[in-house]
Amino acid sequence: MLTGLDIEGTTLLHRASARLKLIALFAVAAGLFAVSNVWLLAAFAIIAAGLYASTGIGLREAFRRVRFVLFTVLLVALANYLFHSLSDALAVLFRLGTLVLLAAAVTATTTVSAFMDEIAVLLRPLERLGLLRAADVSLAVGLVLRFAPEILARYGDIREAHRARGLRVRPLSVLVPLVILTLKDADTIAMAIDARGFRRQ
C-alpha cells in the first residue's frame, strides 16, 4: 500500500547519486531566488519540466503528483498579479514551478532506501553526540510502513462494529478506539523488538 514514488529506469538522473541530486537541488533552489529575469526563469521552468518528463514517469502520473503543489503556486502567482504586477506574478510562477518540478524529478528517480542512506549520513553528527541513533530512525520508518495498513484495517473494523450496532459513524467515536487500540499494542511490539535484540541493548 505504501510504496515509494520512485520510477524504475536507467536515465542519467536515475544513475546519479542521491547525494549529488540533493546537493544540486539545494544549490538550484538557492540560486533561483537570486534570479529575477522572467525570460530566464521561464527557460529554467521549461528545462525542469523536460527533466521531469525524461524520467519516464508518463504525463498523467507526472501531473497527478504535482498538481496540488502547482495549484498553490498558481494561487500565490495570482495574488502577485492582482496586487502587484504581471512580471512579479510570472517570476514567482516560473521560479516556484521550476523548483517543484525539479524536486519531483529527484523524488521520481531516487529509491526510498537511497534516501534513507543519505538520512543516515545526515544523522551522523547527532549520533556522535549521543542524541539519537540512525538505526532507531530506520526502525521507526520500518514500523510505520508495517503498521499503517494494519491501522487502516482496524479503522474498517471499527466502522463495521458501528454499523452492526446501528450507530452512526462519527469522527470522534471512531478516532478514540482507533488511537487507544493502536497505542495499546506498543508494549507487545516493544517487547518483541527487545526479545529479538534489534537494538543491541
Binding site: V69, V76, F83, V100, T107, F147, V176, V179, A186
Partner: protein, 187 residues
C-alpha cells in the same frame, strides 16, 4: 528513548498517515470538508506529550521527504517541500511540541472534566494552530514574492476549520487520557 517510546512514536506516525488516507470528514454545519491529518498533529502533542509527539510528526515529515505518499490525497516527495505551503508541514513538528508542552503542564488527573477539556483545547489551539500558522505563514511570505501580506491574510480562511479540529482533538485527547493515559506530567 526507550524501545516502547520509539514504538509509540512510530505507531502515532502511522495513525497520522492513516488519517490522511481516510475520506475527508464533513460536518453538517460547515460546507468545507476537513482532512483529518492536521487533527493528528494536535492529538500527537495532547496524547504523547511534547517530545514523543514532535518525534511522531518529524517521522511523518521524514517519510514525505524520502518519497513516500503519506500526506492526504497520496501526496509526498520532495516537491511538497518546494511548494509555498511547506512551512505548514514543517510547522507540524514545532506545533506538536508546543501542544505537548502545554498539555503536560496543565493537564492533571485530579482536575475536573471541564478543566481538562479547557487545558487540551488551549494546547491544541496554541500549538496546533498558533505555532503551525506562524511557521506556515513565515515560509509562505518568503516564497510568495511581493504579495506576501495578501497571501498571509488569505491563508487565515482555514482557521475556522482548524478550530473545529482543535475541538475534536480536545474531546478525543480527554477520552484517551481517561482510557489509556500516556501524557507525561511536567511541573
Amino acid at each position: 528513548m526507550s524501545t516502547r517510546d520509539i514504538v509509540l512514536v512510530a505507531l502515532f506516525a502511522a495513525i497520522i498517515v492513516v488519517l490522511g488516507m481516510l475520506p475527508p470528514i464533513t460536518f453538517g454545519f460547515i460546507p468545507v470538508p476537513i482532512t483529518a491529518q492536521s487533527l493528528g498533529v494536535m492529538l500527537a502533542g495532547c496524547i504523547l506529550g511534547a517530545k514523543r509527539g514532535a518525534a511522531a510528526c518529524l517521522l511523518v515529515v521524514l517519510l514525505v521527504a524520502i518519497g513516500l505518499p503519506v500526506l492526504s490525497g497520496g501526496r509526498g516527495g520532495l516537491a511538497v517541500f518546494a511548494g509555498p505551503t511547506a512551512g505548514y508541514l514543517v510547522g507540524w513538528v514545532a506545533g506538536a511540541f508546543v501542544t505537548g508542552l502545554i498539555a503536560e503542564r496543565l493537564v492533571r488527573d485530579s482536575q475536573t472534566e471541564f478543566m481538562q477539556f479547557a487545558s487540551f483545547f488551549l494546547a491544541a489551539v496554541v500549538g496546533g494552530i498558533g505555532v503551525v500558522y506562524l511557521l506556515g505563514i513565515a515560509w509562505l511570505s518568503f516564497m510568495s514574492g511581493k504579495a506576501f501580506v495578501e497571501t498571509a491574510i488569505a491563508s487565515l480562511v482555514f482557521i475556522p476549520g482548524d478550530l473545529i479540529k482543535a475541538f475534536v482533538a480536545m474531546l478525543a485527547a480527554r477520552a484517551v487520557q481517561a482510557g489509556y493515559p500516556l501524557l507525561p506530567v511536567r511541573t
